[in-house]
Amino acid sequence: MPVTTARLDALKIRSGDASGSCVIRAVEVKKIYRMGTVETHALRGTTLEIYRGEYLSIMGPSGSGKSTLFNMIGALSKPSSGKVYIDQVDVAQLDFDELAWFRCRKIGYIFQTYNLIATMTCLENVTLPMSFAGMDAEAGRERGVELLKLVGLGERILHKPSELSGGQQQRVAIARALANRPDIILADEPTANLDQKTGGEMIELLARLRNDLGVTIISATHDLKMLKRSDRIMWINDGRIQKVARPGEIDFSSNEFH
């Protein structure tokens, strides 16, 4: 079935958040991974709201369920129970093609390991989501060059990812995430594989994009600099949200951060 905005509008919930200020809402989301007889409760009933245009950081130790939460709110896999609304649309109601449509236009993903397509040039990587969106190749190229300039890689558009440093690759990934003008950018530990300085540059870039483009940024991180830059910080542990705070309310010198 062709995806239309009319169909998506029809799917939007009519109650609750009528203003649309809440871009992602998760209600009692649980995720259980079953491997043989072993069950892992990666999320144990998470409820959260993420507001349009905010910069939300998610903190938590390794294995606490950050990536799982990202997969749920990024429509990359289905929760075992609970509901996820992206832009007021219940993700569970979407079929495969509609999910692809959603991922293509609503959300930009940034990964810890960059995940650029190794066989493609920077420009091809950035234009790939645009061709998935059906954008004309010429227009796509133009926008691709523009985006690569925006992230400071205007000189490297025809390089292969292997010819770039980690920081440069992550910049390409950021440009790619912006390709279809998404409402939301999901970044799963984007600076974890980068050195301090490069990671800092990446955070500056994301913060600037948030300010300039008004895009919602959700980022899992351990990076102090990223926490300071964000609007809200959410702590997650063992599949549960422990606390939510604003940077001003936090003592960054406490033990928690060392």
Binding site: P2, V3, T4, T5, W101, I117, M120, L128, S131, F132
Partner: protein, 330 residues
């Protein structure tokens, strides 16, 4: 976006061009493995082609050899009747247009240094030393007036027939061409049928092996591209796009492997036949059109086998959950 409800073609369109680019780049990058996969296709198709072209070539070669054998047998029967041919004159009566075998026969007995032909219309009685040996009847009938006017002047009053003995005014004509017996024909047909069954059986096995090996190579390709596929799904690739990438890759393999395989198969069969029957015979009478037809069949077989082989791997790839493909901690 939501302000524009009318005629929105928001459908995720996936240009073939993009899939094609991914396929070509993928093959370039994984050239080593692609070549190995390709070899599987080439071998399978070459096998099919060598069998198809063998039977085409054999029909040509067998015809030629039978014709040669038949001609030689006819010359042998004639020699048994007439003795040495050199310097002799043989009267020729054309009861019908000579067929291929008769033409070969005539070329053989009237080649320089052998006998000389004398058409009936040019016949004139001559002296005793110069008399023609006998009369050769091409085709079926020898009119009795021809026989009666010529037979008194022959050295041997004998008529040899190249085709049939149905109209023989001499009453003691000699038939040079003797058809194969009913029994021979039956045995040949039976052998041919058995051979066909064997060939089809072997072909089925070869096709199966080829399909399984392509399938296996593609599955490896899926595993190798786990992360790439997951990433593309995150970027909005439809399952159908992922499937298309694998079907395209496979069909390309089938096409290239099919072309190379059918050429190799043809070459292999032709050289084998040339070595045992002579280069001139094989390459002088290549059945070009039927061979082209066989190549088309082989190409189609290669592509169909590749597409069949891609069904399972493409399904595996397209059903992959993007989250699974992106896990970093496995």
């Amino acid at each position: 976006m939501s302000s524009n409800h009318s005629a929105i073609q928001d459908q995720v369109r996936l240009p073939l061009r993009v899939a094609w680019g991914i396929v070509v780049q993928g093959i370039r990058i994984r050239l080593g493995r692609s070549v190995v996969t390709l070899l599987g296709v080439v071998l399978g198709v070459a096998f099919l082609m060598s069998i198809l072209s063998s039977s085409l070539l054999r029909s040509r070669v067998v015809g030629e050899i039978q014709a040669r054998q038949q001609t030689a047998a006819m010359v042998g029967f004639l020699l048994a009747e007439s003795g040495n041919l050199s310097g002799r004159t043989l009267v020729v009566w054309r009861g019908a247009e000579p067929d291929d075998i008769e033409q070969r026969f005539l070329r053989e007995i009237f080649r320089p240094g052998a006998a000389r032909p004398l058409e009936v219309k040019d016949f004139a009685p001559t002296g005793a030393d110069d008399r023609p040996s006998l009369i050769i009847v091409l085709g079926g009938a020898l009119p009795s007036d021809v026989w009666e006017s010529i037979s008194p002047h022959l050295r041997q009053p004998v008529a040899v027939f190249t085709r049939t003995l149905v109209s023989d005014p001499s009453g003691a004509g000699v038939l040079l061409r003797r058809p194969p017996s009913e029994e021979d024909l039956q045995r040949q047909a039976q052998e041919a049928a058995q051979q066909r069954v064997r060939t089809i059986w072997i072909l089925c096995i070869a096709a199966l092996v080829t399909i399984i090996s392509i399938s296996n190579a593609l599955l490896m390709s899926v595993t190798e591209r786990f992360r790439e596929i997951g990433t593309m799904k995150c970027l909005g690739a439809l399952s159908s796009f992922i499937r298309r990438v694998f079907f395209l890759e496979s069909a390309l393999m089938g096409l290239v492997g099919g072309v190379a395989g059918s050429l190799f198969g043809l070459l292999f069969a032709a050289i084998l036949y040339a070595l045992s029957y002579g280069w001139g015979l094989v390459f002088g009478s290549l059945p070009v059109l039927p061979l082209l037809g066989a190549m088309v069949i082989c190409l189609a077989a290669g592509i169909i086998a590749s597409i069949l082989a891609a069904i399972y791997p493409a399904g595996v790839a397209s059903r992959m959950v993007p989250a699974d493909a992106l896990r970093t901690n496995i």
